[in-house]
């Protein structure tokens, strides 16, 4: 007995499908990059909460600058580092909308350090998704504030040296000290279990917006196998062995 494809592809047989909040555009991210997974999680949370028509995203400068091509929601693309200020501007005139920024480590922790600190200090009612892969991906793998000591990048070709380049920055822990943050957590997406935890964290963050609780900050420790110049599998291994000790996973603040 032969089974034909049309007999298999049926509504009742579907165990997984792409959320309609993700567009059909082919993502430009490198194979192995964490961005695609996190985009999907944000999109799924938006779908599950039924807030596609009430969500406004702010994309950064960095690899995820084109995030607006992938999530089918209204988007503003911000200048480098300024996403928390842009989100503030939006959220203050649209207090009933779900406003989130999606930023990388160069954007958020380096050039936009002032904007994120003050948005968190004011307690803007927004969600911040922070992708920390310890490198500038888009511009070709230069040192980021979160680059580890000894890590080789395009601008630390002999490894990051504290004397020369300063220390890696644990900005998430700093932001947890500010009164305007209600939820600060650090997650990753390198295993299915971690993907589920990250999704729960993102869901919680958006629920906090619904409750008008202030800034919910979700760091996702991520890989950049292109920038790190390793395979995706090696990248995950390197992240677990090197990044997690410096950037331990788990909730830092939840009130």
């Amino acid at each position: 007995m032969s089974v034909e494809l049309k007999d298999i592809i049926k509504e009742e047989n579907i165990v997984y499908k792409k959320t309609p909040v993700l567009t059909d555009n082919v993502m430009h991210y490198c194979p192995g990059c964490s961005h695609g997974v996190v985009h999907k999680l944000v999109a799924e949370v938006i779908e599950e909460m039924g807030i596609q028509d009430k969500t406004i995203g702010v994309s950064p400068v960095g690899c995820s600058v084109l995030a607006y091509n992938y999530l089918d929601i209204d988007w503003a693309e911000a200048a480098h580092g300024r996403a928390p200020a842009v989100a503030t501007g939006i959220s203050r005139v649209h207090p009933d909308r779900y406003v989130f920024t999606y930023q990388g480590d160069g954007d958020l922790a380096s050039i936009g350090c002032g904007e994120i600190m003050h948005a968190c200090s004011r307690g803007e009612n927004i969600v911040v998704i922070f992708i920390n892969n310890a490198i500038y991906g888009m511009t070709g793998g230069q040192m980021a504030p979160t680059t580890l000591l000894g890590q080789v990048t395009a601008t630390t070709p002999y490894g990051r040296d504290a004397k020369l380049n300063g220390f890696p920055m644990k900005l998430t822990e700093l932001l947890a000290q500010l009164d305007g943050t209600c939820y600060v957590t650090r997650q990753s997406v390198h295993t299915p279990a971690n993907v589920r935890k990250t999704k729960a964290a993102i869901r919680k963050a958006f629920e906090n917006t619904r409750k008008d609780k202030g800034v919910s900050f979700v760091e996702v420790v991520s890989t950049c196998n292109s920038g790190w110049k390793v395979t995706p599998v090696e990248a995950n291994k390197w992240m677990v062995e090197n990044m997690f000790p410096k950037y331990p996973l788990g909730d830092i603040k939840d009130i």
Binding site: T55, D74, A76, E77, T88, I90, H94, E115, H118
Partner: protein
């Protein structure tokens, strides 16, 4: 008729913003314009009209907050003075590149650097030639009275939305700090969500609706050919502004043999100089540009066929004079007289400069 009040230029900016239905003001304190945000905070418009007023952590942040609110189709504004406006240049070029309307008030002080807190007009180039990177212009209005501080808030927003382009009110410490009689505008309600949907559905961020694809506000285009096409579109807008939006005032030009070209507070001082000149039998008039961009090029060209010479009077080392020379097509002498660094020229100095640089030259 609305009540006549005695108010400072800076206070009037705040009052006019509330009355014209402004949705949001984001700002950062700097002399000589801090009264704008102080007045707004004291007035508490959020209780009256729902207008948002927020003190940001920097000018960089305030202009990006403006970008966010403007991206929502809202009437958003900020105000600052020269050093703060320099910090805003990044945000302004993004606003222009994303075709967002907004209003920025620049109460100019002397520079460069931290400079002085006293009045100046040394940011003409920055205001009228773009200021940030890329090919763009702001719509620039130059008030010469407290009344015009009131009038140009509404006009600035109207032009900004008409062309989806940032507009700037280029004032200075004199106009900002001075009190004059002012007739405030009538209250206009803020736009409702429905009105914003009707006007700006194709671009404003209101949350993706079922009937439309999602809106993206961005100034990014990685395809050079598309970016060039977009730049052509921007240039077409600027040509339309040059065609339709030039505003100026002629003062005693009918019989003028000489001409002052001056804007803002310098044009006020020139009015006194005209009185002094005419007492001495020198027939001089003033062409006062009200829009600095678009610039009244044709009007200056026309007057350059009537008068024997032009003196531009600016509180700068000579910036607008370049545009005046170009407009006059080098037909007649065009010279610059200015005091700067926060020093304000006196009417007597201006008369002497006219005699020495134009009449006697």
């Amino acid at each position: 008729m609305a009540e006549v009040k005695l108010m400072k230029g800076n206070e009037v900016i705040a009052e006019a913003a509330i009355r014209c239905g402004c949705d949001a003001y984001y700002g950062y304190p700097i002399t000589p314009q801090s009264e704008v945000m102080e007045t707004l905070m004291a007035r508490k418009p959020w209780e009256e009209t729902g207008m948002v007023v927020l003190q940001a952590e920097s000018e960089i942040s305030s202009i990006n907050m403006v970008y966010g609110a403007a991206a929502c189709g809202k009437k958003a504004m900020t105000s600052s003075s020269s050093p703060g406006i320099s910090l805003m240049q990044e945000g302004l070029t993004y606003l222009a590149g994303a075709e967002l309307p907004c209003l920025v008030v620049d109460v100019v002080r002397g520079g460069p650097g931290l400079g002085t807190i006293q009045p100046a007009q040394s940011d003409y180039f920055q205001a009228t030639k773009g200021g940030g990177h890329g090919d763009y212009h702001l719509i620039v209005l130059a008030p010469a009275s407290v009344q015009e501080m009131n009038d140009f808030v509404g006009l600035g927003f109207d032009l900004a939305f008409k062309y989806r382009n940032p507009a700037m009110i280029l004032a200075d410490g004199v106009i900002g700090q001075m009190m004059e009689k002012v007739q405030l505008s009538e209250y206009k309600p803020r736009w409702t969500e429905e009105e914003i949907n009707q006007m700006s559905d194709s671009w404003a961020l209101t949350g993706k609706k079922a009937h439309r694809s999602h809106n993206t506000v961005t100034s990014l285009e990685l395809d050079s050919y598309k970016q060039e096409t977009f730049n052509h579109k921007l240039q077409a807008k600027y040509r339309a502004m040059e065609e339709n939006e030039v505003r100026f005032e002629e003062i005693q030009c009918d019989d003028a043999e000489y001409l002052f070209v001056a804007y803002g507070s310098a044009s006020r001082i020139c009015q006194k100089a005209v009185q002094l000149c005419r007492e001495q039998g020198i027939k001089v008039g003033i062409l006062r540009p009200i829009t600095l961009y678009p610039f009244p090029t044709k009007e200056i060209e026309r007057l350059s066929k009537q008068v024997k010479g032009i003196l531009t009077v600016e509180m700068s080392a000579g910036q607008m004079v370049e545009d005046v020379r170009q407009a006059a097509k080098f037909r007649i002498p065009v010279e610059h007289f200015g005091r700067f660094g926060g020093v304000i020229p006196t009417p007597e100095e201006i008369v002497e400069a006219l005699k020495k640089q134009i009449i006697g030259a």
